[in-house]
């Protein structure tokens, strides 16, 4: 176990930011902490890193209690904050080298690691640039390089792709995957469900400071009743037909509006065929058909009754 958080409580006066939060991160995984803005993700990360005091609970990293003086533990942690944390007066190279020097004593080693980090985030052409001259995406890449330059065993990324263009976002996600392949355990917080779904091997969904669901993405999706969402462009569908449609096997919700028929079916296979068969048998004309598997947003929606981005 790389990180173990047990019964973590953090209050700001009357506001409960973390409400007996439990987390377990296994070695070698990319652990996603997913939740809407204000759900407590960053607070949880800050508590894990001992930046924030907390009211109750225990935190262990690498099997040892984490605290502000746990320098041996800190040596193996890399943090990439939501906000870019670099010096405007230092160049790309100097910034990375500075943050590497906080971890590594040997000058030659610092130089080697700095060059490797620059190469890793593909900033070779910008190493003498000052941060103010970099675009938002390049700045994020610099921020990442500063966090991973010392080759940490545990990397914590707190919403690293906020306000990043799609190209840079893909580059960042690719980089995280590569770091994980090289052996680092990753904790990734985001409110972008697509990213978490795409990247993470294990996911905890957090809301109001509490883990409301956890598991792999498939396990999470299996928790909800929806198995498939079928959207069909259909014409002149009467209320009675909708009732009959709903009575088909494995269908638990039917909705018809603006010539769009949305059928939600439970888990299982071949849900589409009976629906199309019914429409055909009843001479209901239909056009485009789209089928979707449920997303993490659907999981969140079903558990909390609200959208992930609310």
């Amino acid at each position: 176990m790389i990180v173990k958080v047990n019964g973590l409580v953090k209050r700001y006066d009357k506001l409960v930011a973390l409400d007996y939060l439990d987390l377990e991160v296994q070695e070698g995984e990319i652990f996603g902490l997913l939740g809407p803005n204000g759900s407590g993700k960053t607070t949880a990360i800050n508590c894990i890193l001992s930046l924030l005091k907390y009211d109750k609970g225990t935190i262990e990293i690498f099997g040892k209690p984490m605290g502000p003086d746990a320098y041996k533990i800190k040596k193996d942690i890399g943090i990439i904050m939501q906000n870019v944390a670099v010096f405007d007066e230092l160049t790309v190279y100097e910034n990375i080298s500075y943050f590497c020097s906080l971890y590594i004593k040997n000058k030659a080693e610092v130089k080697k690691l700095t060059n490797e980090a620059i190469e890793f985030v593909s900033l070779e052409d910008f190493k003498n640039f000052y941060p103010k001259k970099l675009s938002g995406g390049l700045l994020r890449r610099l921020n990442i390089a500063c966090g991973i330059v010392h080759k940490p065993k545990l990397i914590i990324l707190d919403e690293p792709t906020v306000a990043v263009d799609p190209q840079s976002r893909n580059k960042i996600l690719e980089g995280i995957r590569k770091l994980n392949e090289e052996g680092a355990t990753v904790i990734y917080t985001s409110h972008y469900m697509e990213e978490v779904e795409q990247l993470c091997t294990n996911i905890a969904i957090i809301d109001k400071g509490k883990v409301i669901a956890k598991g792999t993405k498939d396990e999470l999706k299996a928790m909800i009743s929806i198995g498939e969402i079928i959207t069909i462009e259909a014409y002149r569908l009467e209320e009675a037909k909708l009732v009959q449609l709903k009575e088909l096997p494995n269908i638990y919700s039917v909705d018809y509006k603006d010539n769009q028929l949305v059928v939600k079916s439970g888990c299982g296979k071949n849900n589409l065929v009976p629906v199309l068969q019914y429409l055909s048998d009843n001479n209901i004309h239909f056009g485009r058909v789209i089928t979707e598997l449920p997303t993490l947003n659907d999981v969140f929606l079903e558990i909390t009754g609200k959208e992930l981005r609310d």
Partner: protein, 377 residues
């Protein structure tokens, strides 16, 4: 590792254009402005013999004429260069700026001047003194004629050293107060650098601070390293200002330049500690902290005579405690003590108080920095 971090901080500080301007350029500009603003005062203080015209037509025996001719500085320089002439010509000389005044000698002499100024004031003061002494002489002669034989008259009529230096060739110099206050202000301006270093190290004040707090480096070690870099960079600004004042503007810092530099460096440390303390303990936004420091440093400069030299004396008289706890005043007063006094008693007192303030603020900063986790960030 620490040296690399120190070097990087130095780079940051020297590349910060705004910080460089306020620490390096602004004091130089202000010193230059002071120099031009007070240049006239300084010119007057380097005294030169005053040209006057003297009309004694019909005055008969004229002791004033003799007194004017005998008036000298302590180094023997005559105070007045006198042209004896008629009233009409005296007026012409005054008109043509060939003399700065003319005097019509009589038992009640009359002074004519073209404008107001230091030299005109000296002539008027001389005549006032003369009138007062003449009155004394008449009184003595009337009431105790024996005094003539006792040499009293000679003492009374002494016009040597009318304008004299007060102590060891140094005059109390109001202009110097402005320059010393400027130097002191620049020292305590280090507070802004102290604040900057705290911001970079505290997780609740900056993202960089948060990143530093997550790293395995001991916070106090990094803080001292950063403060040392700030002290190095700020000392540079003080040395530059000192060299500019000493060699270009020719500000007199007295004879002990080493002590002058020590004063400046101690002042810089006080400033750094002040900035760190405000940064750590004032729980407000960075802008509010900066405003507090600006108010403190500028206010301190004002109270120590940077804008109005007399303010220094007013505070010393009306609110002496304020003078003792105002670091800008302590530095400025230490510099003035070095210039003016032979002994180091007052200088030592100022430096001691500065050191006590610095240690006190340092301890406060240490206590604040020891906190390792934050209630909120």
């Amino acid at each position: 590792m620490i040296f690399q971090l120190y070097k990087a901080r130095l780079k940051c500080l020297f590349r910060n254009k705004e910080g460089m301007f306020w620490s390096y350029m602004f004091p130089l500009l202000l010193a230059t402005c002071f120099f031009f603003a007070f240049n006239n005062l300084w010119t007057i203080e380097s005294f030169e013999t005053i040209s006057i015209a003297y009309d004694n037509e019909g005055a008969g025996i004229d002791p004033l004429k003799e007194a004017l001719a005998e008036a000298k500085m302590s180094d023997g320089t005559p105070i007045f260069s006198i042209t004896y002439t008629g009233k009409e010509n005296a007026g012409k000389l005054l008109e043509d700026d060939e003399s700065q005044a003319y005097i019509v000698g009589s038992s009640d002499p009359v002074l004519y001047v073209k404008q107001n100024g230091m030299n005109e004031t000296i002539i008027k003061s001389f005549l006032d003194s003369y009138r007062q002494i003449s009155f004394s002489v008449h009184t003595i002669l009337k009431e105790n004629p024996e005094a003539i034989n006792q040499g009293l008259m000679k003492d009374v009529m002494q016009f040597d050293n009318f304008i004299d230096e007060i102590k060891d060739g140094k005059k109390p110099d109001a202009v110097l107060i402005y320059f010393y206050a400027l130097m002191a202000y620049t020292c305590i301006f280090a507070a802004n650098w102290g604040l900057e270093e705290v911001v970079n190290i505290q997780a609740d004040l900056s993202n960089r601070g948060a990143r530093v707090n997550v790293s395995p480096i001991h916070k106090m070690k990094l803080f001292l390293c950063n403060m040392l870099a700030a002290f190095t960079a700020h000392s540079g600004s003080l040395i530059l200002l000192f060299l500019y004042m000493y060699y270009v503007i020719k500000v007199d810092f007295g004879n002990n330049l080493i002590y002058t530099l020590i004063t400046c460096l101690v002042g810089s440390l006080t400033g750094l500690a002040l900035g760190a303390t405000v940064g750590i303990w004032v729980k407000k936004k960075a802008e509010v902290k900066e405003a507090i420091l600006t108010l403190f440093v500028l206010g301190g400069g004002f109270l120590s005579g940077m804008m109005i030299a007399d303010m220094k004396y007013i505070i010393a008289e009306k609110a002496p405690l304020l003078a003792y706890i105002n670091p800008v005043n302590l530095v400025s007063d230490a510099l003035y003590s070095l210039y003016y006094y032979d002994t180091y008693e007052r200088f030592g007192q100022n430096i001691l108080i500065l050191c006590i303030i610095t240690v006190f603020l340092g301890v406060l900063s240490y206590i604040g920095l020891r906190r390792k986790s934050y209630a909120s960030i």
